[in-house]
Symmetry: C2
Subunit: 238 residues, 2 copies
DNA sequence: ACGAGCCTCCCCATTTTGGGGGAGGCTTTT
DNA sequence: AAAAGCCTCCCCCAAAATGGGGAGGCTCGT
């Protein structure tokens, strides 16, 4: 197995990538360089449906989507809260849905060993970068630190390119005034209007004006929608 | 200037880091290795107040917090939506608040050139990794791609350690049933209860049961709080 | 000087939500 | 077999929110 990843090659392919197929080709090149069974970029959550740039057989990808394995996949759950690479072997696969996932993967000819790293972006965006092999011992334990570095860099570059491809032209990023931000933030934190107004040392009437104003700026249908939208845009945070 | 960053040294310091001071020492070691004016890890948004592990003088840090520069800092805003490193020189500093920030920084003896990379985590977490120097031309243009790689890796490792230090013991991660998730997601997207119930092909009474149930599971005070909380935990996404 | 935006405050009628209650059928796990 | 959770449906009443309207003072940018 090669001991050095030519990220220059990956970056070159990514810089020319225009669509998901181009990303898939870049990921396939990575698999060949790593000399592993599969390399996977799985965009779990973004503005639209989940999608992936990967080397898995179509049969397995179709089964994964059809059975909605994303909602019970221990890898997806584990990487959601851990910032470091996760060895699949270390996860709990005892639950029946997880065993079904494994069975289905094996039936599609895949190895059950792998390593994944979660990547996050704005507006709750969440993606997974995985390396999969059929060898009996975990990839993570076989990887040197240098290889973890390469995994992190590969994940970052692929996700960056994916975000760039998805980005809507930011014609006009909505912003809120400080008081509007305060008003929505306090509501998001669970305070009622009366309590929030008191917290800000203003009247409920005034508080309401800020909420209405923010709602109009965000083009929201109601207060809840305004709060959710503001959170999604990263304008407020709990 | 050295052409190779010894990330092994950074990782060693980080693996032993127990608090923010340890992180600051690791960051200071990085500054010495890079041979630059300052290196900064700025946790802009997480569960608590903003904080940083950095080499800036206390005078400047105090001024930054006191003037609430975070809310107008073009670097903070730019890195929020860009997944790749941002050269400060390329940003718009013409607005008065931004000029005040620059003036204050210069008065504190800082250079105005730098490069920053945004890092994201769960629950809307957002941090910045920056390298600052007083040289007249932008660091970004002087950095080779190898240096960008090191910047990305350094940002990742520091943020990972920071997250590990902050992580509350996950005694019980709240989850929602699929229907509860659907109900909150549709409300977050701006549908009214009647419309959302129709979308799910259930009655409004039933829809309401899911909302109430989700609200109880999340320990939320009202529906808006439940939606905001679910988004914050990454349970639903727009 | 003027316009835009922010911050502040008030009113009424209608609609929606929250809090409480009730119920049954199905699947999964232990 | 039993318990727990999910999915489905219905009711009432009080409180809160929404949708519409009104207003003035201050600061900043052009």
């Amino acid at each position: 197995m090669q001991t050095e990843l030519r990220l220059g090659e990956l970056c070159e392919r990514l810089s020319e990538a225009q669509d998901h197929d181009d990303l898939a080709r870049a990921v396939a090149g990575l698999r060949d360089t790593y000399d592993v069974e599969h390399v996977v970029y799985h965009c779990v959550r973004s503005g639209g449906e989940q999608w992936g740039a990967l080397t898995y057989p179509k049969e397995w990808v179709d089964a994964y989507v059809k059975e909605d394995f994303k909602s019970i996949d221990p890898v997806v759950a584990a990487c959601f809260s851990r910032p470091t690479p996760v060895d699949w072997k270390a996860l709990d696969w005892s639950a029946r849905p997880a065993r079904e996932l494994l069975g289905s993967a094996t039936a599609s000819g895949l190895g059950s060993q792998g390593c994944s790293l979660g990547v996050r972006g704005p507006s709750g965006r969440y993606a997974l970068f995985s390396v999969n092999d059929r060898m009996s011992d975990g990839l993570r334990s076989r990887f040197t630190d240098a290889r973890v570095d390469e995994m992190i860099l590969a994940a970052h570059y692929i996700d960056s390119r994916a975000q760039e491809m998805e980005a809507e032209p930011v014609a006009k990023l909505r912003t809120l005034s400080p008081r509007e931000t305060d008003a929505l933030t306090l509501l998001a934190k669970g305070l009622g209007r009366a309590q929030a107004a008191e917290r800000l040392a203003i009247s409920e009437h005034t508080f309401r004006v800020y909420v209405e104003s923010a709602r109009n700026k965000l083009g929201a249908r109601n207060t809840l929608h305004a709060v959710a939208h503001a959170m999604s845009l990263g304008l407020i945070c709990l």
